[in-house]
Symmetry: C2
Subunit: 335 residues, 2 copies
Amino acid sequence: MPKQINLKKRPTGTPTYDNFEVLEVPIGEPSKGEILIKTVYISVDPYLRGRMNEGKSYIPPFQLNEVISSGVIGQVVESRSDLFKKGDMVLGSLGWQEYSVASEKSVRKLDPNLAPVSAYLSVLGMTGLTAYFGLLDIGKPKEGETVVVSGAAGAVGSTVGQIAKLKGCRVVGIAGSEDKINYLKNELGFDEAINYRTQDVGTALQEACPNGIDVYFENVGGKVADAVFPLLNHFARIPVCGAISSYNNEIEDVGPRVQSYLIKTSSLMQGFTVGNYSSRFGEGIKALAGWLNEGKLKYEETITEGFDHTIDAFLDLFKGANLGKSLVKIAEIEK
Amino acid sequence: MPKQINLKKRPTGTPTYDNFEVLEVPIGEPSKGEILIKTVYISVDPYLRGRMNEGKSYIPPFQLNEVISSGVIGQVVESRSDLFKKGDMVLGSLGWQEYSVASEKSVRKLDPNLAPVSAYLSVLGMTGLTAYFGLLDIGKPKEGETVVVSGAAGAVGSTVGQIAKLKGCRVVGIAGSEDKINYLKNELGFDEAINYRTQDVGTALQEACPNGIDVYFENVGGKVADAVFPLLNHFARIPVCGAISSYNNEIEDVGPRVQSYLIKTSSLMQGFTVGNYSSRFGEGIKALAGWLNEGKLKYEETITEGFDHTIDAFLDLFKGANLGKSLVKIAEIEK
């Protein structure tokens, strides 16, 4: 029987296999207006860790003993909807399971001729749009400014850095391995890249940013972020997208308070989630697809093969193992 | 001979008398285009503490063995300028001294018939304008929203709260004495006021803000601010004006990092100084003067008498002794 992954126990600290339960469940039957979808790719993302906690946030928490969900690309295997036919590729927020029954309203059709379908989970999907709106709408980079991005080799960070280069900025990435550093400098054209595991981030940033920092795209928080604040220029902008360094903290995440830095420099910090921009997704996808087709935007995928490794792929996110977007490939697309 | 106060030694921690030196200096002689001014009021403000440190900020630090300066109102006693005549009341950034010689371009004339001249150092001056632009331009309060202001009985905070009331908001002030609490609730019409010295701020805020916090006007930082973040509503705005609780810190000011709170609620923090709005001062003064003349805006002054008590008045700011604007009265206005 096909499998499904439920949240069994809320994690305290770093999630482990004990937090999940793999069940066998029968394939559902679509009712009128519904489709049966075979899962092809599952997106695993750091923000899902937040949904495993109780308590209010910008999206409701996962329920115990219910299936975990995230961005999923699948193929229609049975349709009782006039909008979809067998073989169509679809994208939606669906369960971590091999088959899903979904309302025709909850998914959208993808054109596999425009880009490889997996791109709709990364550079043309939530992570690309997160980078696009966070950087351009909040960060507002201007030609010649210095943009620093943490989590720079991740799906969001790598797109942020490339868009900032397209806007004529000096771009400095912070990441956690030499492979990532090389990737950022040699593949993506970042001006500088800093390895936070082996370098003193404050000193390295000072050297890499001789004109100070105008935009800091925040993906990680913690000590990496602490090192950025003393180097902010007047009227700097900080889109606050993520704080992965703190997601598994069991104790309070404590560091230097930021108020004095913000006052001294009249700087702005703005938290956001991509959903704030849903009315403008069309604009973002069009711009990203344009750069992609012109060869100006590269993206990397870390693809884990097989449903049975979905939990591994998720846990790997917190080890910093992934380059670019992390996906799990569940099945081949049927022609 | 008239006196002058110089910065003798940069403070570490809370300033003391040892940091200052009182000198006797001869009265200067104005050259062409200059005026001789007799000091009437000296403004003492928390932000001056920052200027006593070395290092870059939004305004240059005071120099050792040079006169300290701040907002000053004075009366022209001798003029070699066509723009001013003897007896005129003027406002400028002038030294802590009984007499100043100033260029005609560095001061502006005040109309003592529009409002008591001291108001130009408070509600119609920098502190009123700080409240006006920080609250309205960054805080953007909407009718029915909840606005929390710390340092609420100070010159900036008391104006912020009253403007927020004029905009139809629920206003909660945080201050440090029962006198201040009573003043905020009974004189200024705040909906609630919290004494951070005797109450648990987190619990008190939860009770005072049943619908969460939409705008937090930051004057103090530290633990008071820490208690605000968990109560922010979606798309909350935080104008960051001051952080007086940390100005005298000798060790790093450490507390819960704010990134996760900002992400969860898509909230904004924006540091600012009033100088960012200098091109719009006219608009601000007009609005403030209008409310003042309609009796909709009250202001309080804590006036210390006598040049010899200038340092006392400054040091008192960090004891939370002042209500509203702190001024030192140096001389009577001559008719």
